[in-house]
């Protein structure tokens, strides 16, 4: 009896272990495949020159620049708004109807599919507000997409600041705003930065929201203002993989682009991990 109990447990545990390593295997498979095929493509020229020969040669510089602009634009929009919303819900209105409303809506915002953000951005920013297909419209759309991420990480960061900090500051005669500015925000800062870094990873990979708000198939020159269209890495990969003039010849370019995207995500995740770890150690 005890024997079968033990055997059952061991079978069950090895099945679970197997599942765990299967997931790890899937990740390594995807990463390995992209890295193996893409590493040979990466070169100085690939990173710093424009596509040539109908997307089968040259590089992806305009797409990198476009994605960079979108990262800057969307974080400039989402961060002040998201951090202020979070400060309001955590520090000011603990449990009134507005806080509840904001919390429910933030949760719902996070569950909205990215293509719906694309539709919304197209009607509001591109058409109604008349920004046209532009970096501005794309950044605002992507900004909305990362807003829930920003709010959540900021809320968590603020909540993690010990209450004694706030009491100590108040006891020294500081008012609420001073306490938030001088004590709470600096203490929560590393965790807020983690949210920033993770949303940069998200912005650089999203395709559906930029399809109809900013992304251009090919542009001969770099964008000059926020009202210009731009190329972007994820859309560029989509184009290379599915709709180029010569898909087979464009394959190496696609592998290279996918690798650059993966590297950005890897970098952002590692960076966020390091900052978080350092912060936890200091605590």
């Amino acid at each position: 009896m005890i024997q079968t109990k033990k055997i059952k447990e061991q079978i069950a545990f090895s099945v679970f272990r197997l599942l765990g390593f299967m997931v790890l295997g899937v990740l390594l498979w995807i990463l390995g495949f992209i890295i193996y095929n893409g590493i040979g493509v990466i070169s100085w020229e690939f990173i710093f020159s424009a596509p040539t020969d109908g997307m089968t040669g040259g590089g992806i510089f305009p797409a990198i620049v476009g994605t960079f602009y979108l990262i800057i634009g969307s974080t400039l929009f989402a961060f002040p708004l998201g951090i202020m919303s979070a400060i309001y819900t955590v520090e000011y209105a603990k449990n009134n109807w507005l806080t509840k409303f904001i919390r429910i809506m933030t949760n719902n915002l996070a569950s909205i599919p990215s293509i719906v953000f694309g539709l919304f951005g197209m009607t509001l920013f591109v058409n109604t507000l008349g920004f046209g297909d532009s970096i501005l419209a794309g950044s605002l759309t992507l900004g909305l997409l990362i807003l829930p991420v920003v709010i959540r990480t900021t809320e968590e960061a603020l909540k993690a600041v010990p209450k004694t900090y706030r009491l100590g500051s108040t006891a020294l005669g500081a008012n609420k705003i001073q306490t938030i500015k001088r004590v709470v925000l600096p203490a929560a800062f590393p965790n807020i930065i983690t949210g920033l870094i993770l949303s940069i990873g998200r912005v650089s990979g999203e395709t559906a929201p930029i399809l109809f708000t900013v992304a251009a198939y090919f542009l001969p020159q770099l964008p000059h203002s926020i009202f210009d269209q731009a190329m972007a890495l994820p859309y560029h990969l989509y184009v290379l993989a599915t709709s180029g003039t010569d898909i087979e010849a464009a394959r190496p370019m696609a592998y290279g682009t996918a690798l650059v995207l993966i590297v950005i995500v890897l970098l952002m995740n590692t960076l966020a991990g390091i900052i978080k770890k350092r912060f936890e150690k200091n605590k």
Binding site: V23, N107, V116, T207
Partner: protein, 398 residues
């Protein structure tokens, strides 16, 4: 002064919160505002009309009938309830091959008259022409009654042919079935894997393995969907095609495989959190009664966390249903009601992504796509509410 600034800042913070809060409402309003015009539009393309001979007893035709007539599948008026008369399709361009430019007059102002002649002399004719050339009050011709696109045409229609002339078909059933099929199979694959890994991480794995697996799963969540799509396209599509012996590897099943991988991080992290909420006292009690670790897990921990695990699965479904790019790239995008999972399907998000760029702004196709967005929004919203209810029900039980 200082008081004033404090108030100002507080007001500003409140405003940011409110702006965030109303974004979701704005999204709903805009989707419906853009989409609702569809049901005020007529079934025949805007600016065009259909004319028949006045002897013809038919007064109106449904969009499906029109499609079959113009495809040549219906060749006799008898088939749509008319007389036994062969259908003669007349497209506007033909007028230029029957008459010379001179006969059509200066600035083509004789076109309505000549069209009238053609229609009057052909009892079986159906002419599809721009509204402005339709002769008014002309003897011997009759304009078919134009109906508005109905709710049932949209929500119960079985064909999605948004660019068909003269009457586009906007039946969303194939897209809805496609979305549900792909997501359903994906979640069937993802549940055992996701819940299994969550159990492993929460209960069995030691610290070293956890430190290896957790970042891996976060990374899996961070990989952009277009990269998943690309991977699916170049790796999974050929594998599915070969092992299934199929003509094409772009099937619902391929999409499900990719979606399963993409839904895994959501399921794993939420289910793991749920498993961890099991109180230590309950585990200790079970162990004290002589149960071993595995018995404790499946008799105590899993039942306790079951609602959290269910919420995780539901949120995984939500993730799968809303996913756009990866599915767009690997499912082949045939807008037909699928009969098996090894057929090509087209999901709602993929349809929007693929077609919106080509749909003229403000036209019926454009409106139909925005309504699709609204449908998708409502589905995912319902799912997230259901997930919330499931996980809050557990709180009450406690």
């Amino acid at each position: 002064m200082k008081k004033f600034i404090d108030k100002l800042i507080e007001g500003l913070l409140k405003l940011s919160g409110t702006v965030t809060g109303i974004t979701v409402l704005l999204i709903i309003v805009f989707l419906f505002k853009e989409g609702s015009g569809l049901f005020q539009s007529s079934t025949v393309e805007k600016g065009y009309t259909l004319l028949v001979n006045s002897e013809n007893p038919i007064d109106k035709l449904s969009p499906e009938e029109l499609k079959h007539i113009f495809d040549g599948e219906i060749e006799n008026w008898k088939q749509v309830g008319g007389r036994d008369e062969a259908i003669r399709i007349f497209r506007f361009d033909e007028i230029f091959s029957i008459y010379t430019d001179d006969e059509l007059g200066e600035d083509y102002d004789l076109i309505p008259e000549k069209l009238g002649e053609v229609i009057h002399t052909n009892p079986g004719i159906i002419a599809y022409i721009p509204q402005k050339y339709a002769a008014k009050n002309s003897r011997g011709i009759k304009e078919l009654i134009q109906e508005k696109i109905g709710l049932s045409d949209y929500f119960l229609g079985e064909e999605w042919l948004p660019t068909a002339t003269p009457a586009p078909l906007f039946g969303i059933l194939p897209l809805l079935f496609g979305t549900l099929l792909v997501s359903f199979i994906a979640i069937l694959i993802a549940i055992p894997l996701g819940v299994g890994v969550a159990i492993y991480l929460a209960e069995i794995a030691n610290e070293r393995i956890r430190k290896l697996l957790k970042p891996a799963i976060e990374l899996l969540a961070g990989i952009p969907s277009v990269v998943y799509g690309f991977f699916g396209l170049v790796v999974l599509v050929p594998i599915v095609q070969k092992t299934g012996g199929l003509d094409l590897g772009e099937t619902a099943f391929t999409g499900s495989l990719i979606l399963a991988i993409m839904a895994l991080p959501t399921i794993i992290s939420i289910a793991e959190d749920a498993l961890r909420t099991t109180p230590k006292a309950m585990r200790d009690a079970s162990l004290a009664l002589g149960a071993n670790k595995w018995q404790t897990i499946y008799k105590v921990v899993i039942p306790f966390a079951s609602s959290g695990i269910a919420a995780a699965v539901v949120l995984g479904v939500g993730r799968a249903i809303g996913e756009t790019m990866a599915v767009l790239m690997v499912t082949g995008n045939a807008a037909v009601i699928p009969h098996s999972m090894f057929e090509s399907v087209r999901t709602i998000p993929a349809t929007i992504a693929a077609e919106l760029g080509e749909a003229p702004s403000g036209g019926t196709h454009y409106q139909a796509l925005f309504l699709l967005g609204a449908v998708l929004f409502i589905i995912t919203l319902t799912i997230s509410i259901v997930a919330e209810i499931i996980s809050s029900r557990k709180m009450i039980k406690e």
